[in-house]
């Protein structure tokens, strides 16, 4: 899995590419935590447009970020959900607590 990081004011955009499983979930967690150390960031946008696979490790990794940002008074928004990835997040109950947008633009609007 590849993780691309973009900063838009107080928002961190993380673009995930490839497969999010137990092996790669640590890469995602560490990439976000590294940014939190050095920057004043409030919200997180997770772009899953190019995420070709996800299992329950994805639920854990996203729930972990959700709690982290909630505890800092921020928000998490997801965009670019495929049918399969949506089903997985739905089973994990995440769609009840995390807003889903079609793309990054909509996610940024949602946060402003």
């Amino acid at each position: 899995m590849q993780v691309q990081i973009i900063r838009r004011k107080k928002n961190l955009i993380v673009r995930l590419k490839g497969e999010l499983d137990h092996h790669t979930s640590l890469t995602f967690r560490q990439a976000v935590e590294k940014e939190l150390e050095k920057e004043i960031i409030q919200n997180l946008i997770i772009n899953m447009e190019n995420l070709t696979f996800m299992d329950s490790s994805g639920i854990g990794a996203i729930l972990g970020r959700y709690k982290q940002f909630r505890d800092r008074g921020g928000k998490v928004v997801i965009c670019g959900l495929s049918r399969h990835n949506k089903k997985i997040l739905e089973m994990g109950g995440l769609l009840k607590i995390i807003p889903v947008c079609t793309d990054e633009r909509q996610a940024l609007e949602n946060l402003s």
Binding site: E19, H23, I59, G92
Partner: protein
């Protein structure tokens, strides 16, 4: 119930890999390639890959304390059915009923969601778990393909 009856004409594979997380994606490619002969839809392939990924990740994460243990993946096809068995000889599961509960995990500190078995049950037609503490765990799953196509005839 899970009726496991490999016939003479049945095609079969058995794969053995060490319990290392880098093998999770490898096993997904192998099971997708094996299932290809059933001419599955993209959705069916994703469901099988995900269920197998859950069971293999469990053996890597919960069964063994290091990465020397082995995981066996057996698969059989017959007609439109794919049987899969994932087994380890790790520490086993004390309370299978509790393990199957959605959100139950004994590794919350590793950001596990406790949704592994729930996803296997949702994506496969049957899931049977057997385990002996100290000896290991076997997860047997059955997927029936092209159900929509069949019922539309």
């Amino acid at each position: 119930m899970y009726h496991y009856r490999p016939g003479k004409q049945m095609n079969y594979m058995m794969l053995e890999v060490p319990a290392r997380s880098e093998n999770e994606s490898f096993v997904r490619v192998v099971i997708a390639a094996f299932a290809a002969r059933l001419d599955p839809t993209l959705e069916e392939v994703n469901e099988v890959k995900t269920a197998v990924s859950e069971a293999v990740t469990n053996s890597i994460l919960h069964a063994y304390d290091d990465d020397r243990g082995l995981i066996k993946i057996r698969a059989f096809v017959e007609d439109k059915k794919l049987w899969i068995e994932i087994s380890d000889s790790g520490k086993g599961i004390d309370d299978i009923a509790r393990a199957r509960e959605p959100l139950y995990t004994d590794k919350p500190e590793l950001e596990r969601s406790g949704m592994g078995f729930t996803i296997m049950e949702n994506f496969m037609d049957e899931v049977v778990i057997s385990s002996s503490p100290g000896k290991g765990t076997v997860v047997k799953m059955l997927k029936v393909f092209n159900k929509v196509a069949e019922s539309s005839h």
